[in-house]
């Protein structure tokens, strides 16, 4: 489908088990005129080194507050944020201003924004040099580094242009180059692709994925687009009303029965074509996914299987996804084939059958 998709999930993953971003009990309450709005309600987030972690949720779910709490642009009301072994909440300093240590820590965390936030009064190169100026780097070094970064994001020919002369995708590339100027270990992406068209979104995600692989960069991104998570993320979390509703690696989420994130990532649809037919959702993950179970099923029980819908992807060389198949006969007639599928280590859901009913049927 998308030629880029296969190699974005190239098997040489950089993920290690070392936690890079950890939040625990993160709470943010906004007070305005006596009213209290809880934006974050005890968020525990664990992002491992080298992974692309996506936080998805609707607007108002608290994603923005979350990512801003990670580099303390927003000061959490309570809870701790640890980035690369450093407890940032302990560095906080007084009042709304950031102390020297916190500012030093921030310079090691890159951030890209939905609206790019480039200075219109500066050229592309000067924009990339800005964080280096803040770091106190000399002029010659700055321009060398800036050109190197622009080359990395494929914009070396635009160094002297002003942001107003660039397209959205190019602006975001400049934003990414700027975010990488301090050689960060962590990149925060605040809806970086939400203002871009689908094709540009793909190329920016591709770039993020590429940087993640080449530099071992850990990326925490927030988005409201499921496609973004599906394209680049190793792990994902679903945010709702200030809480993490579900989280885990894509494979873990798939393995969780009834995971909403999994069904949103791999949506299947299709209605039974008749009364006396059984619809079964098969979720592939782990070792079982490599075996041709559908044809095994057909051969073993000599039944005709129709595929109503499927959402499959190859992650790390393994097939992952869900498939909706239809078996002839009512549910009661299909207990044995369904049992066979379960034995193969596949996760089976029968739509329309309440879990209690499934149990009854099994008995």
């Amino acid at each position: 489908m998308h030629p880029c998709r296969a190699d974005t999930h190239a098997p040489h993953s950089t993920v290690t088990e070392t936690p890079v971003i950890t939040t625990s009990g993160l709470t943010k309450v906004y007070r305005s005129r006596g009213r209290e709005i809880t934006a974050l309600d005890g968020v525990d987030l664990h992002v491992r080194e080298g992974e692309v972690y996506g936080v998805i949720g609707q607007s108002g779910a608290g994603k923005s507050s979350l990512i801003r709490c990670v580099n303390l642009l927003e000061r959490p009301t309570s809870g701790t944020v640890t980035v690369d072994g450093q407890d940032l909440t302990a560095l906080a300093g007084r009042g709304p201003r950031a102390g020297r240590e916190l500012r030093a820590a921030r310079s090691r965390i890159g951030m890209v924004f939905q609206h790019f936030n480039l200075l219109s009064s500066r050229t592309v190169q000067d924009n990339v040099e800005l964080p280096l100026e803040i770091l106190g780097m000399s002029g010659k070094e700055r321009s060398r580094k800036a050109l190197e970064l622009l080359d990395l994001v494929g914009l070396s020919d635009k160094a002297k242009a002003y942001p107003a002369q660039l397209s959205g995708g190019q602006k975001q590339r400049v934003g990414i180059a700027r975010a990488l100027a301090g050689d960060p270990k962590v990149l925060l992406s605040d809806e970086a692709t939400s203002a871009l068209d689908p094709q540009t979104t793909r190329s920016i995600l591709q770039l993020l994925r590429d940087l993640n692989r080449r530099l071992g960069l850990t990326v925490l991104l927030i988005t409201h687009e499921m496609d973004v998570v599906k394209t680049v993320c190793d792990s994902a979390a679903l945010m709702e009303r200030g809480r993490i509703a579900e989280s885990g690696t894509v494979a873990e989420l798939l393995a969780t029965p009834g995971s909403r994130l999994a069904s949103a990532l791999f949506p299947v649809s299709g209605e039974a074509s008749g009364e006396d037919r059984t619809v079964v959702d098969v979720t592939f993950h782990g070792d079982a996914a490599t075996r041709p179970v559908v044809s095994e099923l057909a051969r073993t029980y000599n039944i005709d299987i129709s595929i109503l819908g499927a959402a499959m992807d190859t992650v790390g060389g393994r097939q992952v996804g869900r498939m909706r198949i239809e078996l002839p006969g009512r549910y009661e007639d299909n207990v044995v084939p369904i049992g066979f599928l379960r034995e193969q280590g596949l996760q089976i859901d029968v739509p329309g059958q309440e879990p209690a009913l499934v149990k009854e049927g099994a008995e």
């Binding site: 921030r106 609206h115 936030n117 480039l118 219109s120 803040i134 107003a164």
Partner: protein, 259 residues
């Protein structure tokens, strides 16, 4: 009165006006720019949020702005004497002109700086920049076109104020227009003075607009970004130059009244 009689009067008066307006503009920028930036920074949701300081500065600025210039000049005589050693002459007029222009310019700076996209401030904070970096690298350079328009407006307003400086014997174009043109019924000289003022103001306005527009065009504006995460209360929409142009229009009207 013949042209040869008018000419030395006019050139001396023009020079006096330029001298007073030039120095007081310089002082107004030096004093008003930090004050205007401070008004934004100390405001609710600003980087140096301090409601008390904001209210105090705002109130001082309001009082100073509400004072008619002629009254300000008289009220400040003691201060003027302590600064310049005299209360008459060009140097003495610069003091009240500057004091009057500082709050005027500060308000214009405040408006211009508020127009800066809060996202840019956030970006620099995320890079590890402190408040001073934000002011130096973002607020001032990004609002530069508007700041230039504000300066133009201030200069034009100061030319208007300087017409009253004749009261303290500071000379200037306004002074000769009143003394010769009005009190000695030299109507011709008065009209010539008015014409000179009109030309001077037009030239300044044109130069200012040109500079502001050139800067604005170079940078362009980075699209409709959501403003004011940090700088709340700012107006969205209308480009900064538009506001400043409106203000300079008002100021020009004031000047016409004064002249």
């Amino acid at each position: 009165m013949t042209w040869s009689e008018m000419q030395p009067l006019l050139s001396q008066a023009s020079w006096d006006t330029l001298y007073m307006v030039g120095w007081s503009t310089l002082i107004a920028i030096v004093g008003g720019l930090p004050l205007g930036v401070l008004l934004v920074l100390t405001d609710r949701g600003g980087l140096l949020q301090n409601v008390v300081a904001n209210k105090v500065i705002g109130q001082v600025v309001n009082i100073a702005r509400s004072m008619p210039f002629i009254i300000l000049m008289v009220a400040l005589m003691g201060f003027t004497r302590s600064v310049t050693g005299t209360t008459i002459g060009r140097e003495a007029a610069i003091v009240p002109l500057a004091v009057g222009a500082i709050p005027f310019f500060a308000r214009l700076v405040e408006t211009a700086v508020r127009e800066v996209d809060g996202g840019l401030v956030e970006a620099v904070q995320a890079m590890g920049g402190n408040t001073w970096t934000v002011v130096r690298k973002v607020l001032v350079p990004e609002s530069l076109p508007s700041l230039i328009s504000s300066t133009t407006t201030t200069i034009v307003a100061l030319i208007g104020y300087s017409a009253m400086a004749g009261t303290v014997g500071a000379g200037g174009l306004g002074d000769i227009a009143i003394r010769y043109g009005y009190q000695r019924f030299e109507t011709e000289l008065m009209w010539v003075t008015v014409a000179v003022l009109a030309v001077v103001i037009s030239v300044i306005q044109f130069a200012g607009d040109y500079a502001a527009r050139a800067l604005h065009r170079r940078g362009g504006r980075s699209g409709a970004a959501p403003r004011l995460r940090l700088l709340k209360d700012g107006r969205t929409g209308a480009p900064a130059a538009g506001t400043a142009d409106g203000a300079s229009g008002t100021a020009a009207a004031e000047v016409r009244k004064a002249a």
